[in-house]
């Protein structure tokens, strides 16, 4: 121990798995944990604002900082990893990461009629999570699926932070290197699990949002980070990815989905293909719920697309008890008000679908009024918890509801404006498809009840697990789908909500319930 101190290195014991990591004296705990492979996704990039990197100190508590005191409230045993600099040996546990498992699994996928001896990999390169799907063409099935945190989350939680970093060449290089490494590692892991050689991968299809593609291709934002959010990649039918960048052999054919604008990227074009939005059939709406909500409408032979700034509420970020759709998240609520928890067990927080269905439930029960005001609880505070008088960290606060109102109004306003541009009464929609990584327990009824989507018969509303990943799978080794995707930039009309003269009124009108 004495020797360690001389070297100014301390030991941090991580519970519950008992792992030890070595940390330089004064090193930031969040970055030390990141070096040990422990990331806090969807964070505020270490500014002490989001509270997602809270750790429980089981040894002597370091002094609390002002921001920690504000954010952690009654949780006095906790500290924020991003604000702590290690000054002694210590023992901590990381409550929100105990059961860290990311799943973006796709069920029931059918590669009709594709027969060959080789394999293909479909990749959904998300801002937070990268999902890999290994397709065995000889059997026509997905043989392996694997999801991992995008290692860029360590550099910055959201696209805007990463784009700001990317203005500096060395940071841009680091972001590019980290995403390429993440893809290389993921592919390696997939191949090892399936016990196949890298040479048997004949084709890769990758869907990523515009920012992810810029950084993957080694470009900075080139202006896509500021209004009017345009990208030089827009409209290009062919984006070239060198297979060597992601550890593949030179013969592997890599298809990237095209980009429509700075905020309507390859993830959306892939989702369009997955949902057949480019086929002129009926009046159909596709919604991808996320920090940036993308909305696509097919009506009267036109395909319209827009993106709307919903904020991260649907991803559980910035909410008092918000969390990603992982084990322990409340993903829904029963008609009696009992929470459904992902993986069963004790609830830890709420994911996006948990907020949608909880708020719908509370509105129906009269606990949230039509302006969004929560009834006071027994302590005369406007908040609600699914487990009365116990788990204080599971409160739904008034501030949460306000953030939720902004998020759902942004989506609803986008839908209203797209329908208006197409001359379509939303009640005439034949189908609404909702996708996004917000959890699975959203019922069409609750999504309609909170005013997130138009009120149409609920049997016309469907949820699609990972539409972007499905689009990428469809394009694997299938030139018909690849061509359809490549044609999208010429076919889809992009609508800029900010240009609408009445946007603010429509947005505000959609905030109430």
């Amino acid at each position: 121990m004495t020797k360690l101190r001389e070297n100014r290195e301390y030991t941090v014991l991580l519970n519950p798995d008992g792992r030890e990591i070595k940390v330089q004296k004064g090193q930031n705990l969040r970055s030390a944990l990141a070096s040990a492979g422990i990331f806090f996704p969807q964070n505020c990039t270490g500014k002490g604002k989001c509270g997602h990197c809270r750790v429980l100190f089981e040894t002597e508590l370091p002094p609390v900082q002002k921001r920690e005191a504000e954010l952690l409230g009654e949780h006095t045993d906790y500290r924020l990893a991003c604000l702590q600099h290690i000054q002694s040996d210590c023992e901590i546990s990381i409550p929100r990461l105990q059961e860290w498992r990311i799943e973006k699994n796709i069920r029931d996928f059918d590669f009709a009629g594709r027969v060959s001896r080789s394999f293909g990999i479909a990749i959904d390169l998300g801002t937070t999570v990268i999902a890999f799907y290994l397709a065995d063409f000889s059997q026509g099935i997905i043989t392996e699926q694997y999801s991992v945190l995008n290692p860029q989350v360590h550099q910055g939680g959201d696209v805007m932070t990463r784009l700001t970093l990317a203005r500096k060449p060395e940071q841009r290089e680091a972001l590019t290197a980290s995403v390429r490494q993440g893809l290389t590692d993921g592919i390696k892991k997939l191949l090892a699990t399936a016990q196949i050689a890298v040479d048997s991968i004949s084709t890769v299809s990758l869907a990523g949002n515009t920012t992810m593609l810029h950084l993957l291709l080694g470009r900075d934002g080139e202006g896509l980070e500021i209004a009017p959010f345009r990208s030089p990649l827009e409209g290009r039918k062919k984006l070239v990815l060198d297979p060597a960048w992601i550890g593949l052999s030179a013969r592997t054919k890599c298809d990237l989905f095209p980009v429509l604008t700075g905020f309507i990227g390859g993830d959306t074009t892939a989702a369009i293909i997955a949902a057949d939005m480019d086929l002129p059939e009926g009046h159909r709406l596709l919604i991808d719920l996320g920090t940036n909500g993308e909305i696509v409408l097919t009506a009267n032979g036109d395909i319209l697309a827009t993106s709307t700034a919903a904020g991260p509420a649907f991803e559980g970020v910035g909410m008092a008890a918000g969390m990603p759709a992982l084990q322990g998240a409340i993903e829904g609520i029963s008609d009696e008000g009992d929470p459904f928890v992902i993986g069963g067990g004790e609830p830890v927080g709420y994911c996006g679908s948990g907020y949608i269905s909880t708020i719908a439930y509370l509105h129906k029960a009269g606990i949230i009024d039509k302006t969004g005001l929560i009834r006071q609880d027994h302590e005369n505070i406007r908040r609600w918890t699914p487990i009365p008088q116990s788990r204080q960290d599971l409160y739904l606060t008034q501030d949460d509801v306000r953030k939720f109102q902004l998020a759902k109004a942004a989506i609803a306003a986008g839908i209203e404006i797209l329908c208006e541009q197409a001359g379509l009464d939303p009640a005439q929609l034949d189908e609404i498809i909702v996708t996004g990584s917000f959890g699975n327990r959203v019922t069409p009824k609750s999504a309609v009840a909170v005013g997130l989507i138009p009120d149409i018969p609920i049997e016309k509303i469907t949820f699609m697990d990972n539409a972007a990943g499905r689009g990428a799978l469809l394009c694997l080794g299938n030139s018909h789908f690849v061509r359809r995707a490549a044609d999208l930039p010429g076919k889809v009309k992009v609508v800029n909500l900010g240009d609408h003269s009445n946007f603010q009124d429509i947005y505000v009108a959609n905030m109430s319930f």
């Binding site: 700001t164 500021i226 209004a227 009017p228 005001l373 406007r382 009108a509």
Partner: protein, 214 residues
């Protein structure tokens, strides 16, 4: 203070535009001072709305409906105000900075500052340094209020603040918006961080050495 002013204030808070109109007519019929009715009735009501908004009791739609009620009364009273009788607390130029189009937060802040008695110059959204600069020359504001919702435009907030202060060293700068905080405000040399519309009103008073009650 006339009981009518309290009723006006209550009607603004209760979002009752028709009641506000009727009360405003009554103020004129009874020969009361319209400027007092504006300050102690309408503006006082809007001030309470600001407090409710800050406490999250009221949300954006309610604030806008209240403001419509306030303006319904203001439109009736304003033509009867003796020139100069309403205390103008100072000119504030406000805008969402270059590179950002999100302006609803800015609109609420503007509304509250206007109701509190400031003369507001609204430069809109996506406002460049040049346009802020022109507004400083033209309107000689005492305060400039900068808003952004996006982290990517924060650098330009720094530049705009620095250049405007170079031009007019006694100018006060208030910043606001989701990615901004007190530390950031200090780091770019701004004088106040307005966490919400209510805070911006308090800050504007502080920066100009005014009492909130006036």
């Amino acid at each position: 203070m006339s009981e009518l002013y309290t009723k006006l204030s209550d009607a603004v808070v209760a979002m009752k535009a028709d009641d506000v109109k009727q009360l405003a007519q009554q103020v004129l019929a009874e020969g009361l001072a319209p400027e007092q009715a504006i300050e102690q009735g309408l503006a006082a009501g809007m001030n309470r709305v600001g407090e409710l908004f800050a406490a999250k009791e009221y949300f954006v739609p309610e604030v806008l409906v209240c403001s419509r009620a306030m303006y319904a009364g203001f439109d009736i009273l304003k033509d009867h105000v003796v020139e100069g009788a309403i205390n103008n607390k100072g000119t504030i130029a406000i805008g969402v900075i270059d590179g950002d189009f999100h302006d609803i937060g800015k609109n609420i802040v503007k509304l509250m500052l206007e109701a509190a008695g400031f003369r507001m110059i609204d430069l809109g959204k996506n406002v460049t340094l040049d346009r802020f600069s022109e507004a400083v020359d033209r309107e000689n504001p005492r305060i400039i209020a900068l808003s952004t919702l996006m982290t990517t435009t924060m650098d330009s907030m720094l530049e705009i603040t620095a250049k405007l202060l170079q031009k007019k060293p006694d100018l006060k700068v208030i910043v606001g918006g989701a990615p901004v905080d007190t530390d950031f405000a200090e780091s770019i040399g701004a004088h106040f961080y307005g966490g919400d519309a209510r805070a911006a009103v308090i800050g504007a008073h502080q920066l100009l050495g005014l009492s909130l009650e006036a």
